[in-house]
């Protein structure tokens, strides 16, 4: 049963949608996101496998974080470059997050979850999302929000990383709390992932509508 947790089901649906809809997109964004979803799914499955056997699995997520940083940075860059030249701010953002990620492992064993990087990266991604909204509003053209794929993709990212802020900050202090069989942190994690993958799924559907109109 734990091989089919809600997160894994959501990721699977999202991955299938990504493969059928955005994989064949001309720009690299489609392929990058699809690969990321595949990696996320594999990571979750492997972690579930290890958890069942009682093997410590947080190092898997440490590896996954690296892909997460790269993909979300790329995705946000792709969305922001429609309105402005985002290279400078992304160099700054990457210059903060990546060094923090690698320097964590100087003082801590790899088996420890890289929580400080997760917190910082959440803040950075939230700021990029808000900046995207600001540029969208400032632009003199209006968009059809209901069918704008990038908007919903960024919205999903915002919900996930902004929503996880509190649980990131208070991470060490309440992981011992158990609600039912799972920790509160895991519950929040499930809810956030469901929200994220729902918005991403809707974004892919919008992209599909766009493709239909263009063909």
């Amino acid at each position: 049963m734990r091989y089919f947790s809600p997160i894994i089901i959501a990721e699977l649906i999202c991955l299938i949608a990504a493969i059928t809809i955005i994989w064949k997109d001309k720009n690299a964004f489609g392929k990058v996101i699809t690969c990321y979803l595949a990696i996320a799914l594999v990571t979750e499955e492997a972690a579930a496998y290890m958890a069942i056997r009682g093997i410590h699995n947080l190092w898997l997520f440490n590896i996954f974080i690296f892909f997460e940083i790269s993909t979300i940075l790329y995705g946000l860059y792709h969305c922001l470059k429609e309105y402005t030249n985002p290279k400078p701010i992304f160099i700054i953002g990457a210059g903060i997050v990546y060094p923090m990620y690698f320097s964590f492992f100087i003082n801590h064993p790899f088996a420890d979850l890289n929580t400080i990087t997760i917190t910082v990266m959440s803040v950075v991604f939230t700021l990029y999302c808000l900046y995207y909204y600001y540029l969208l509003l400032k632009d003199e053209n209006f968009i059809e929000i209901k069918t704008h794929p990038q908007f919903w993709w960024v919205t999903g990212v915002l919900f996930y990383y902004f929503g996880s802020t509190m649980s990131n900050i208070f991470d060490g202090l309440f992981t011992v709390k158990i609600i039912g069989h799972v920790t509160l942190r895991y519950c929040i994690y499930i809810v956030l992932n469901l929200i994220l993958y729902s918005f991403w799924l809707y974004s892919f559907i919008c992209r599909m509508k766009q493709q239909k109109l263009q063909s």
């Binding site: 509003l137 209006f142 915002l158 919900f159 929503g163 509190m166 202090l173 309440f174 011992v176 709390k177």
Partner: protein, 263 residues
């Protein structure tokens, strides 16, 4: 210790909920703002379309006016002259050389007059293109045509003839306004003197037409919706951000001043 942890956990759960609600409101705000932007853009497009259709109508009316003037001229002047020529020539008696010579000379004069009239008409046809040559020339052409009718004493002060800057849309509308004002004078004013002044000062184009006709009551005419003339003048003035000052008293003539930012 357990209590503290529970408190923190509840705090985190509630604050996470709040943190999730905040983006919802953000999305709603963005949606509303975007909708306003869309309405604004569509309204702007709509206004642009209305403006263009109004310009088209103005162009057509100017052409109509020109055609009417030409038709009137052809009928009243050239037609008459040529009829007279035919009459004169058909009454030539080749046996009476002296009288015949006189009649042929008369006919020549009449034909020359017709040629002169036709040349003037050709200029009038070209008059539309004068709008491209500048508003000064276009006004001049209208005044010339008014002068030819001979029924008015004209005092002209047209300082726009050598104007270097043009604004084609505004020129067309100003010309049309002048035509409509002159038409109104001819139709209603029963005037004998007309004064037309035009100049460009401080980036504002001034055009003033004054006459000594029977005058009218502007308030009364505005409330009567029957005549379209004044309404269309006001509408066109608004289109080019201009100002119109109308002074008229029954029995004391009328003056209309137009001020338009130019170019």
């Amino acid at each position: 210790m357990q209590n503290e942890t529970t408190k923190i956990a509840i705090l985190v759960a509630i604050s996470t909920l709040v943190f999730l609600i905040v983006p919802v409101f953000l999305i709603l705000y963005i949606r509303s703002y975007n909708r306003h932007k869309k309405n604004h853009v569509l309204e702007k497009q709509n206004m642009q379309q209305k403006f263009e259709s109004e310009m088209l109508q103005t162009r057509v009316e100017v052409q109509d006016q020109t055609m009417q003037s030409i038709a009137t001229e052809l009928h009243d002047n050239v037609g008459q002259l040529l009829s007279l020529t035919t009459l004169t020539l058909s009454s030539v008696n080749l046996n009476d050389v002296e009288k015949a010579q006189k009649k042929i000379d008369n006919s020549l004069t009449l034909v020359n007059k017709s040629i002169k009239e036709l040349r003037e008409l050709a200029k009038l046809l070209h008059g539309e293109q004068l709008v491209e040559n500048g508003i000064g020339h276009a006004i001049d052409q209208e005044i010339n045509w008014l002068n030819k009718a001979g029924s008015y004493e004209l005092k002209i002060n047209n300082q726009l003839i050598d104007l270097q800057i043009t604004s084609p849309n505004k020129d067309l509308i100003i010309l049309r306004l002048l035509q409509e004002i002159i038409n109104n004078i001819i139709k209603h004013a029963q005037a004998t003197d007309i004064q037309i002044d035009s100049h460009l000062t401080n980036s504002i184009l001034h055009l003033r037409v004054a006459e000594n006709g029977i005058g009218f009551n502007p308030e009364e005419t505005k409330s009567k919706k029957s005549g379209m003339g004044l309404n269309s003048i006001y509408k066109r003035i608004e289109m080019i951000n201009g100002k119109l000052i109308l002074n008229s008293t029954p029995g004391e003539g009328t003056s209309i001043s137009i001020e338009v930012p130019y170019p």
